[in-house]
């Protein structure tokens, strides 16, 4: 196999971003296995046909079961609301397709576990689109910690702040707004935003052993798009938790959609005995680094422009010339390229469903902790 024929489920924001990623792979990464935009599936035939034309898909389906049934499809990419992930993933795995699933993996730990079991039982390649691992600055951060350049880690803090749901007249449910309905999303900012922070943290700083969470729903009722009537809002508008990592370091995580002035601001900072790192999605092409080993009179936080090939910045040698930054969507291109490279070598591509299950476990514990008002152990 030198081609991977992709069947895309979903034509929303993530459907666009993933399609864009596949279209870049061949030109930029020259992979051993090339992706083919074979078919796209969504309920509205007209809209889906237009989407297929814009992005270059060969075929259109309106029922994901038919998409999975096609034998000209090698991989299913799941870009639909969270509550639909499970059934599609299970069916795809049963059909022997590779499965690439948007995050969070599922709306519950139980569902996520079932999905994980399914892909492992089927022996199909799988990955979950926690794309921020492949921001070159984040990849560099992970590498630096793994190489011990920060020494013993004392603190890990992360936040993901937005402000788009402050207006009380925004409805909940359905197209674009399913993220405000817990039935479709599973949770609010926890699964949507903090899950990213947790995935990165587990990758860089290892397992979390204890959590204590706090959640809040600022707007208590919103009109539901399906009924046109006010319904209680069941998601978390904001979620914060403290934790302890297995390596002895302390963590603080915070997320909100009520943080005015932040549109999509994922940030983290890591403090170790020998140095510190911090990153912000608002300036994703930079990594701040404080090296305690620098000569004392000229020590200071550095702003690394992660675009300098000579410095062998992750992924950047595939792009332009030093000094020229990339954007948001490139993290998906890198993820897809890594998935294809791993597939060619018969290796797993992290984060796998099992990796994502670990994140799901933390999410569930945070919600439970917040509900019960106490610390929960994860050992």
């Amino acid at each position: 196999m030198s081609k991977l024929r992709v069947g895309m489920v979903g034509t929303g924001f993530m459907g666009r971003v993933h399609s864009n990623a596949y279209r870049h792979i061949t030109s930029i990464f020259k992979p051993a296995i090339e992706p083919v935009l074979q078919a796209v599936c969504a309920r509205d035939a007209e809209h889906t046909t237009e989407f297929a034309r814009a992005w270059g898909y060969e075929h259109v389906e309106t029922d994901w079961r038919r998409l999975i049934a096609r034998d000209d499809i090698d991989a299913i990419d799941i870009c639909v609301p969270n509550h639909l992930h499970k059934d599609i993933a299970l069916a795809a795995a049963r059909a022997g397709k590779a499965v690439l699933c948007e995050k969070p993996l599922a709306t519950s730990f139980a569902d996520a576990e079932a999905m994980c079991t399914a892909v492992e039982a089927a022996g199909v390649a799988n990955t979950v689109w926690f794309n921020y691992r492949r921001m070159p600055a984040v990849t560099l951060a992970q590498r630096m910690v793994a190489e011990g350049r920060l020494g013993r880690i004392y603190h890990y803090r992360a936040s993901f702040l937005q402000d788009w749901t402050i207006a009380a007249d925004i409805p909940q449910g359905g197209k674009a707004l399913w993220r405000l309905d817990a039935n479709e999303a599973g949770s609010g900012v926890l699964g949507d935003l903090l899950a990213h922070c947790i995935d990165t943290a587990l990758w860089i700083n290892g397992p979390i052993s204890q959590v204590s969470g706090m959640t809040e729903t600022f707007v208590k009722e919103r009109t539901h798009t399906s009924t046109g009537t006010k319904q209680p809002v069941s998601i978390d508008d904001a979620c914060t938790f403290m934790c302890r990592f297995g390596n002895g370091s302390l963590g603080v995580f915070e997320s909100s959609r009520y943080a005015r002035g932040h549109k999509a601001n994922y940030t983290f900072e890591i403090n170790g005995a020998e140095g510190s790192l911090r990153w912000s999605l608002e300036d994703l092409h930079r990594l701040d680094y404080m090296n305690h080993g620098d000569a004392a009179d000229v020590r200071g936080w550095r702003s690394i422009h992660v675009s300098d090939h000579g410095g062998k910045h992750p992924y950047m040698d595939h792009w332009w010339v030093p000094g020229l930054q990339i954007g948001y969507e490139h993290s998906f291109i890198h993820h897809a390229a890594d998935f294809l490279a791993a597939l060619a070598e018969g290796k797993p591509c992290a984060p796998t469903f099992r990796d994502a299950l670990g994140t799901q476990r933390i999410c569930e514990a945070v919600l439970a902790s917040a509900a019960e008002g106490r610390w929960l152990n994860l050992a």
Copy 2:
């Protein structure tokens, strides 16, 4: 009375900073009541005499009881380790002196309450040196929130990070290092650093109703300077807490002396429906402001250089010309000037001992919550 004859207790870092403040008042603020550096007191006569000469004190004492007994002293300024605050404050109040006390007010809520009762019973002027309220940028932030320019507040977060105790061979106890000995300091970063954050938060965002804390001591044993032997470290090296404010907003507070790359980095951010504010002690002359009311195409975080008199920035009209920044010690000059102005008008100067008692209450609750691993209500 047109003079306030100050008796300073302590010649350490804070003794220097306060003395510096008094020396500026007359030139810069032209107060109705002028401070006089009447006497300074510390145990080592030679050192104290040298200190008196450098800073211009008229007299030297080596026993604070004798200092308080002097009838040429109107006010006692307490700049000694925390566990000594109480006895001095009580004696000063009994002697009818005004009392200016370094923060935290005491090493326990009970002691703080006794001190508060004492100054109120004696009817003497009193204040606690939570100096950051008088950083012009912080004062401006408080004014903006009070004027409602941020609308309903959703989030308040603050942190105070340092890195000076990472080395395990730093001893604890005594001169300069009493902050590492809970017997002298009461607590670690909580009282030393987070107390500042709490004072500001209560001032700007109102009362805290619930807290859940977490503390850690990374270096478990340090040589005690008094004995030369290893002793358990009883302070908190790091302290984090989540909280809920009475106004419905959520809070996250963090402090550490193990955050490499931060020397004295107190930061806060406040998110309201109509705008957000953030500030950092590392760049204390700036206040960042996001105004949601700005035209949508040019909306963005502003960096306000709090030095522009035309803009009536708090305190700045007393200093130089627009664009020229002030430094750390100016917050103490402003505090002392406000104290003298309040005294002249017969009004209290916030934060009073009673205000500081509120902060002490939160501190004690955070420690208890961390020890018990549960939320505590403060209603």
Copy 3:
């Protein structure tokens, strides 16, 4: 015509960037006229075939004259060293092809004028890839000045700094290094970097009436790749000029490849009576704005994250969701999309060859001024 069949000349850095641009148009911009990657041309057949495969070109040519001779080509895109622009553009115009030419237009004003005359005589669509006009932040800046939001302009300053030629053992000439050979490049940083700054300035701030330039060549000799021997370096390693604009404002422009710590740092700042703007290519997704009309106590430089659709930021509604930044190559996608849209409407797409001729005129005057050590009038 609903397709524009592109013939690409050149497979270097710009050949890649332009090809990438064409590949995005249909998905992202849904243009009335869609680009087709019809053929690519470069001297090395094997390399060009590989390039064609990676980027999806249908055909390969190794002689640009044959490419132009093809009747299945509607437009010629010129991405070869500067000294080759003229002959290709003239032939393409004669053949009635649309011409898209990399900047600078030519190696001399005379050549540029001939090219301009040729495309205008042939009546073919034409544009020059001064791509930075289409950085959304730059486009927004131009719009703000055009709308008078800055009031009368007093100052315009720009610089473009790099550091890649500091090592004296870098050779000159040929592949990748033709930029160091004046025979191929025409000039050094002036045509390569300052031309961008001049194009933006003329667009935003109008005509320049007087210039006084200064150039320097720090490394006087470099090995030429064609001969293997040391030859004098004839380009400008650094170029600075002062100028006066027709609107009475003053300009300062600077460029260098010896500015350590800058890889591709194009910056500009504009000061008007009512406000100021500044931008940096190192953080291309942000525009800094100082609005003098803001309330005086909260006035400050804003950092606009040019990614907020609600704010109708130029081009950004075509991309992802608010808060997610784009990268360098997007400016080319926008340029190509605008070219196709203009073509569909039968309108010119700025900067046209004539617009670029104006930039060439300033470049030539700056070099002459530097050589003669005096001011030159351009009225």
Copy 4:
């Protein structure tokens, strides 16, 4: 002599700043020679008496000749408009007083030369208050260049931007506004602002060999406060010049009072083969440093918080604890402390009158170059 009895001439902005400096020396720097605020002189007796009281001067004079005639005065500090510097300095030198003079030294090179000759002939200690040399970040920058940590220097650029004279109805002349009248100030932004940039540049980067300047007066007429009628404005509102340094590096300098959004923004950047430095008066406690010798993958501009004693940052060990920044006025305190230390050792304190004469020479050449529209050699 263990005291230096200062006679201050002038009670404006600089009179305040210098007085403040003298009041700090003893407490903070414990100098071998202590300053005494002996007498202050200005024309308005009442105002001067009030000034004396606020700042602690013992005596008041209203005629500077009488001040100089006093035999209880050891040094004359000149803080009056520029055109008055010469006569006072000459008289003070003749009287054998040390002379500390505000910058620029004089309103012409000829006057400056006479003053220089006078103090040298009299053999009196002398210095010119180019205070920015003693900003710790600037002092550190100079030290780094002197130690060769930047390698060969290629570029030096500096600017000093303000915006306070944009309004056309601001009058010229007299108290506070003498800076707008060339008869009193000698020049506009050149002597007021660029002179600072030139002093720093000569100190850090050595002599300037060639200059080409450009000046502009945006508001052509302003009401003169002495007559109440409109008079032509004879100062430069903006001044820019390019130059070549003796070491082969290129310079660009710019200054304006029409740069909206800048109140007192002096910035410089220096690019060397091994690294670069930049500084801004808006954040005077920071120095940005790019070290090309850093490991390539983590190279980036560092922001050095020049407050870390362990790093032996210049002057900072005299102040507070690491991480706490100082402000504008501290540069004057450092300058005064250095002057006293030099005096105690019988050494000159740079910049001396002779050093300042070098700056005056560049200023005069820049004005002449701008007037004549050509390059001027200074070899």
